[in-house]
């Protein structure tokens, strides 16, 4: 009998792995051959950054993962990717050569990088099951970490705290509003419309609106 138990927090937030139908993979044109990422000296940062950019693309007027590189999002993502070794990433980088005319993942055009991920998700075209396992591990763990960091509002996710862990208030924060999101930057919360903590003005509006129900 299987027994599967998850924490309440995890359970409430959990909704299973995403899925998407595999699409046909064209041979396409070469892209980025000038990027001289050598297999023997893998740039771990470049790999994670490229996967992140593929997972949450950036377009003109539509910021995404790459827009936050100036705020070192890849460094943040890499902080908790210990489960992926350099060898794993190397296998991931080289794995595309079989399907994309000898080009590594880092050498692929963005659209082909997406095709490569779809191919890994589908798995049917990769006959070596051990290799497939590694490729899928890299994809899944990086995806989980990238989505988690991005949609937890990096880099506007941190509330400064004192040594006792008590949030340090902003000077203008007269009512202990500690929502760290700003209008200066488009983050995961902005994209998904998540509003987090109310402002004092929003609170007051709600109090006015719902006060009639308070006498219960």
């Amino acid at each position: 009998m299987s027994k599967s138990k998850v924490s309440r927090r995890e359970f409430l937030k959990r909704s299973g792995a995403g899925s998407i139908a595999i699409t046909s993979i064209g041979s396409g044109l070469a892209y980025g051959r000038s990027e001289s990422h050598q297999a023997s000296r893998l740039d771990r940062h470049a790999m994670i950054a490229s996967i992140g950019d593929t997972l949450i693309p950036t377009d003109p007027g539509d910021p995404g993962y790459k827009s936050l590189e100036q705020h070192k999002i890849t460094e943040e993502v890499m902080k908790k990717l210990d489960g992926i070794s350099d060898d794993d990433l190397e296998a991931f980088n080289q794995g595309s050569t079989e399907f994309f005319e000898g080009r590594t993942f880092l050498q692929l055009a963005p659209s082909h990088r997406a095709d490569y991920l779809l191919l890994i998700i589908d798995g049917s075209k990769i006959s070596d099951k051990n290799r497939l396992k590694v490729l899928q591990k890299v994809y899944r763990q990086t995806r989980t970490r990238v989505f988690t960091v991005f949609y937890q509002n990096y880099p506007e996710n941190v509330i400064p705290r004192d040594q006792a862990g008590v949030p340090i208030l902003k000077q203008r924060d007269k009512h202990q509003i500690t929502n760290p999101n700003t209008n200066d930057l488009v983050t995961g919360w902005d994209i998904s419309g998540f509003r987090a903590q109310m402002t004092w003005q929003e609170e007051e509006e709600c109090r006015t609106k719902f006060q009639k129900l308070w006498r219960r």
Partner: protein
Amino acid sequence: MQTQKNYDVIIIGSGVGGSILAAHLAAKGVNPKNGEQLRIAMLEAGPYWKGEPRPGYGIPSRRQLITNVFSDDAPERMWPWGMVKMVGGTTMHYGASVYLPYSVDYKHWVDEGTDWTEDACRGAAAEVEKIYNIHTEPDEVLSKGCLMFRDAARALGREVHSAQVARRNCIYCGFCEGGYFCRYDSKMNAMTTYIPLAEKHGVDIIPNATVDRVIIEKRGARPTATGVAFQQGGAMVELKAPNIIVSAGVIGTPRLLFMSGYGSKEELGAKLIVENNNIGKHLDIHAAIIVHAYFDEVIKDGSRGAAPAGYFFLDDAGPNAYGRLRIKDSGMIGVDEPWGLAFSPFAPAFGREHKQFMKQARMHRGGTLVVLKKPEGYRGYINLRTSQMEYEGNEIIVKRLREGGEMSREVLQKMGAKKIVGYDMPPIYHIAHGISTCKAGSDPKVSVVNPNFESHDVSGLFICDGSVVPRSSSGDAVGPIATVCVLAAQRITANHFRK
């Protein structure tokens, strides 16, 4: 070891049970020898975020501590579900979903060997209803999705009920569920209800005090509880009192008694002081699954709302709430956190489609929560060394959860869901709301305390929390626990603290 002043009563734990006992005993109990007010200490392992509650607003000091921002939750402020160590206990981060005991619960309690009849508990239940401000929310603060669930379930012949919540002056920020604290003091918990009363009546609340053991001495033929030993600020402290009330919760209470040498000979070996084979046993919990649905139309705001209000229906597999399922709308109201939404079964795996999904999904995603109270005859236990709840799955649980999943699918389909996921999945289920690990009963062979909450085996020792409640059919535990603890306070006061 330091020794501090003596008390008449020491209460261990300040959650739903401890807070009720402290407030009642301090207000109504007296030392029977001299008629003076009881000297009561309430020990809590965690901090005390002190302050008179101001429902609807909150107070500056607590507002500053409660950020409601998941990504920056400081590790020292995070506790596993049901294991909160701070004044207020688990009520600080529960979902404010509170159901008073059903008639069948009283029947179960009597069947288990107590005299906790509906008549006996009526006053206690009424008090909990009032103090916790238990009510249903009007439709005007619910989402379109909640109302669609109600109408679809009714159209399928279900008797639909309004969900009950314990809140006061709520401004519907949407953060009730998911383990968040309430910065507005609107969630009715121990901190906003009984703890201020206890303090007003002179109870010494001693925070950051981790109790190592109840001191049990063998005086003559019968062991007696004489005090507690606890750690505070790196020092070991001993407090003496002739009456010890353990209210450390469904896990903490049996664990503490075990650490005190009170338990089974088999597990304690040479450390055994008092034998009782029921400590940590008889765990009653619920199992649950979530069924996810995606709608073409906008069904909610996705950022704010009256969670966990809404609607539900019940389905029993037999008489006396046997195999009871509670199927409630879920995810139809309140915040939909993007870091969870990104992994929704409806989300494209990545890329522009995924990003587009993230821009609108919070307004289109909903589902149901299927809660199964354990089928009769199946019980778990607490691993007293690891403090883990252990509960084996079985084919009846799987069958009933799948039946609940199918009932959910029917309703969601009737609502017009475009996609439905999870109703037929292998049961990855969640367990929560444990009770009954030191259960009450008249027979010492199958219980730990008598119906008056006195230990069968140790004089001066009382247990008053979820661990004594033999069973609950509602799926949530605070209502039955609070009701039983008010009854406990009434009985302990009447039997031990009257002049």
